[in-house]
């Protein structure tokens, strides 16, 4: 590995470093080739086991969910779309009545549902169907058995992972109140169950016992929030959720994101430092997995070092990914696209990202494709719509969506994460046809 100083978790509350704000960001506005926030339901409905996501939308929304998720779902999913029809557009009263009818039928069929999200879409937003009032009205009817919340996953307001942000932000006001003196750590953002369990064990090993996760796996085990809550973000796209948590008195612990060995160490350290864990307990807890991560990464460094990288905007994971691939694997990011740049969250990441990488925010897909073709990167990270056509042009691609559907955070997944990038290249060299 390049001998570099380990990334530090900045201390809580410190201002955005100048080096991060000083970087030029290429801002683009044009055609965006990204999913809308509805797509987050694909993993959220699996994470929260007694929640149901009812999209109030159009046939397009249902078809999006089917096309993006159809390949992967084989248990009866806990989501569905109430498809609006011509008569629902005629008058909002009727639309509300229809919604009540659909909810009644759904809850009757699925008595296991404890938490129902009414999820807004572009059409429901445009006709101004007020889902927050609908949620209130229905909550009054179905509580305490079922809690009913709402958020928007519409494409006119949310991009891909921002749907999870909106969902979690809608949950925050409903979370129980923690006693003011309770000092606890809250990890926010959907993680694979196996990763969550690993992190919990690490925190326990270093002596941090009061650790909660949002979202929890069940509606009735959601975390309690109070002024003593300190938040580590497990995912980078949680701008609104963090704001909502701050309104409840919680504080953010700025840190890089837990991708790769360094990222994971710095992320854990941010919590350890805040909670006054002593260095030796911290070191003892992380030593074995950290070494495993280093060992696992060594293999991929050989294969990937020096390879160039181009990331199209998708999940907001792009900057942390590029940082990891650059620092720990020795790859060269050429352009790192992100649909939205939260400068405060990204400050610890951008500090570490090479100055030669162009960071772009937003998208004009045709122009970005031109830049990508000019740059001829060794690996292009892009969405499903673009991957095969770029392969045809001779570029090697990695689908970005796999990065949100695969456990990649933490020490024991660091090697897996690197492997995701090695595999397309290995495949290219293997094939003789």
């Amino acid at each position: 590995m390049n001998e570099m100083a380990p990334i530090q978790a900045p201390t809580a509350g410190c201002a955005t470093p100048a080096s991060a704000t000083g970087r030029e960001i290429l801002k683009e506005r044009g055609q965006r080739e990204v999913f809308c926030g509805l797509t987050g339901i694909i993993w959220l409905h699996r994470k929260i086991q007694d929640a149901f996501f009812l999209i109030v939308g159009s046939r397009t929304c249902a078809h999006l969910m089917q096309s993006a998720a159809g390949v992967m779902i084989f248990a009866e999913p806990r989501f569905g779309t109430a498809i609006m029809e011509e008569k629902d557009l005629a008058g909002l009263t009727d639309a509300n009545e229809e919604l009540d009818r659909v909810v009644a039928r759904l809850l009757e069929r699925r008595p296991d549902i404890k938490l129902l999200f009414l999820v807004g879409s572009c059409p429901s937003e445009v006709i101004k169907l007020d889902l927050s009032r609908a949620a209130e009205r229905l909550s009054a009817q179905y509580s305490p058995d079922v809690r009913i919340l709402n958020y928007s996953g519409s494409g006119i307001e949310t991009t891909f992972t921002e749907g999870e942000d909106a969902c979690l932000a809608s949950l925050v006001p409903t979370l129980p109140e923690a006693a003011p003196e309770r000092q606890s750590l809250l990890v926010v953002g959907t993680l694979a169950d196996v990763v969550e369990d690993q992190f919990r064990r690490l925190f326990t090993a270093m002596g941090l016992d009061d650790v909660q996760f949002l979202p929890a796996r069940n509606a009735n085990t959601m975390p309690a929030i109070g002024p003593g809550t300190r938040v580590l973000l497990a995912q980078p796209f949680l701008t609104e959720t963090m704001r909502a948590l701050q309104r409840r008195g919680a504080e953010h612990l700025p840190a890089p994101f837990p991708l790769g060995e360094e990222g994971t160490t710095a992320w854990l350290a941010a919590a350890a430092t805040h909670f006054g864990i002593d260095q030796s307990a911290f070191d003892a807890a992380i030593e074995a997995p950290r070494n495993r991560a280093r060992k696992a990464l060594g293999r991929y460094r050989e294969q990937l070092a020096g390879k160039s990288l181009f990331l199209f905007p998708d999940s907001q994971l792009e900057i942390p990914l590029a940082r990891f691939l650059q620092r720990e694997i020795g790859m060269q990011p050429l352009e790192v696209g992100t649909p939205f740049l939260n400068k405060a969250f990204m400050a610890p990441e951008l500090e570490q990202l090479t100055e030669t990488a162009v960071v772009s925010e937003g998208q004009d897909v045709e122009r970005q494709l031109d830049r990508c073709r000019d740059a001829r990167p060794d690996i292009t990270v892009c969405g499903l719509g673009l991957a095969n056509p770029l392969e045809v042009e001779g570029l090697t691609t990695k689908w970005s969506i796999e990065l949100v559907f695969t456990p990649i955070q933490g020490y024991d997944q660091a090697g897996d994460l690197a492997e995701l990038f090695a595999r397309p290249l290995v495949r290219r060299t293997r094939l003789e046809v």
Binding site: C61, L64, M65, F74, P389
Partner: protein
């Protein structure tokens, strides 16, 4: 409002995309929010097309709404024209843009582009994908071929004896079930009948080809759902007759041949007897006896359902115990065909109703779409796919038409053999603890145990003839036969962790961990050993 999880058809603008993507030299400017760009993956991933669909989306956002979405549309159209230089453009709105009423047609017209621009009115809240495809194709044909129409009332010139007659093949689109191969088979058939193929459309046609559709002597309507409207207009406008038989199955192929021969005034060539297909002999051979009276349930688009029901009865010796379609536009034909069999057709686009109908009919084989494949898997019934919507494995690398004599061979094989499918199931790996992901369920592709409580209690038809099982889950294949020297025992915690690993790699993880433990002389496999081994072996 209709509550749904899976849908048979997308919105009508996806139908328009199927036309645009099938054609060359045509571009579609679609007023739509960013999320609607998902539709590209249908073509690039599911159909593995090599180029992106020729579609520019305006991807307007909430902040554009009160301001100028119309201007946004025009600049998108202008840039698309400059970049792609199409010969013609179709313009329209998706469901959201339909609500903001920007009038893409009018806006484009006002721009005065030097190419034909074709406005599409596709009502998203009442119509669906196939209707959208048919309407789009019709508008394109009308706009581009219309200028070449003869004076109304002009009689059609009689067929000229010295030249070979010419036919257009209408209906094949992008993302169509086996359209690519059906076209090849149909062209070959026409050629054997002495007919030249004039234009195939929309698949691979350019706007300039559409303009010369009227030159052909007649039209072959390959997929009525897509081409019926346009062919009807061509008949009225150019006096071109059209075929009514879709050549799926041996009998229908013969009828199609007879229909074409009548249209061109020729005799049926002797080479085109039923023996041109292997199906008749395979079906008569004695090892097919077990197929007799096999109960089948048929569901899909109208064209494929009507054809499949006939093949099932007349050519396979099955018994159709239920049939239906999601194509409401053609419901009447399907109702009539069901009635002939003493059945009542199921006309619905609610897959739950279809599931219930399948349970009630207790078939031994389901011929359907990808939705019925899911249902059949859950119920433990064999299934073959005969109609859109379909998935990536239904775009096979090999030549596999449904039409013509070769198509009949394909039908025989695919209906008789069990389906083998398989795609990785990422979510399974992510959320092991989800109670619905009980290991006994396995993947829908691999599992074959009925899981649904709705399965009839007597269960007979669901259990006595399970589809011949596909590969068992990886674990049972590999896990236990490696335990030669008696591996170190697993702690409960490690065993539990192992269960969180997706079943299709779990066997390998177990084996690697045990090998690792043996190599290092460990007496017990702990959680740490599991991850140490994982780091040691890589993935």
């Amino acid at each position: 409002m209709q509550l749904t999880v899976w849908t048979y058809e997308g919105p009508p603008h996806v139908g328009a995309m199927r036309i645009a993507t099938a054609m060359q030299g045509l571009h579609y400017v679609l007023h739509a929010p960013q999320g609607d760009t998902y539709a590209d993956l249908l073509f690039t991933m599911i159909e593995r097309r090599k180029a992106r669909p020729p579609v520019t989306y305006t991807t307007f956002q909430a902040r554009d709404l009160g301001k100028d979405t119309a201007e946004l549309f025009q600049s998108a159209a202008r840039e698309a024209y400059a970049r792609f230089e199409p010969e013609a453009m179709i313009v329209g709105a998706s469901c959201t843009a339909e609500l903001i009423q920007d009038d893409p047609g009018g806006l484009t017209k006002a721009m005065g582009l030097p190419i034909p621009t074709i406005p599409l009115e596709l009502p998203s809240y009442s119509k669906k994908e196939n209707w959208g495809a048919a309407e789009t194709f019709y508008q394109i044909v009308r706009t581009l071929a219309g200028p070449n129409a003869p004076e109304p009332g002009t009689a059609r010139a009689a067929l000229n004896d010295s030249a070979r007659p010419k036919a257009n093949i209408l209906g094949p689109t992008a993302l169509g079930f086996r359209h690519r191969d059906d076209v090849i088979e149909t062209k070959r058939l026409l050629d054997q009948l002495g007919v030249d193929t004039h234009v195939v459309a929309p698949l691979d046609a350019r706007p300039s080809d559409i303009a010369r559709l009227g030159e052909a002597d007649f039209n072959v309507v390959l997929y009525p759902e897509i081409a019926h409207t346009a062919a009807g207009w061509l008949k009225r406008t150019f006096g071109q007759p059209m075929t009514s038989v879709v050549p799926i199955g041996v009998g229908a192929t013969q009828d199609f041949i007879a229909e074409v021969c009548a249209l061109i005034g020729a005799d049926v060539p002797p080479a085109l007897s039923p023996e041109a297909s292997r199906l008749p002999w395979y079906s008569r051979s004695i090892d097919s006896t077990y197929l007799t009276g096999k109960r089948v349930f048929v569901f899909g688009d109208a064209t494929h359902v009507l054809a499949a029901a006939r093949v099932a009865d007349e050519e396979m010796g099955f018994e159709v115990v239920g049939m239906g379609t999601y194509s409401r536009e053609f419901a009447r034909d399907v109702r009539a065909a069901a009635k002939d069999r003493g059945l009542e057709a199921l006309i619905t686009d609610d897959y739950l109703e279809v599931e219930q109908a399948i349970i009630d009919a207790a078939p031994e084989l389901v011929l359907g779409t990808q939705m019925e494949r899911h249902i059949a898997k859950r119920l433990g019934i064999g299934c073959a796919v005969i109609s859109s919507p379909v998935h990536v494995q239904d775009f096979p690398a090999r030549y596999a038409p449904q039409m013509g004599f070769e198509g009949a061979n394909v039908l025989f094989d695919t209906w008789v053999h069990p389906l083998v499918m398989g795609l990785e199931e990422h979510l399974l790996g992510m959320f092991r603890e989800d109670f619905e992901f009980s290991d006994d369920n396995g993947a829908s592709h691999h599992g074959h145990s009925p899981k649904r409580p709705q399965a009839p209690a007597d269960g007979a038809v669901f259990t006595d003839e399970q589809p011949i099982a596909v590969t068992p889950p990886a674990e049972t294949q590999t896990a236990d036969n490696t335990l030669l020297a008696g591996p170190a025992p697993w702690t409960a915690e490690a065993e539990k962790e192992l269960k969180k690993i997706p079943f299709f790699v779990r066997g390998k993880a177990r084996k690697n961990t045990e090998t690792f433990a043996a190599q290092h002389g460990l007496r017990e496999i702990t959680l740490e050993t599991l991850y140490d081994a994982k780091a040691h072996f890589g993935r």
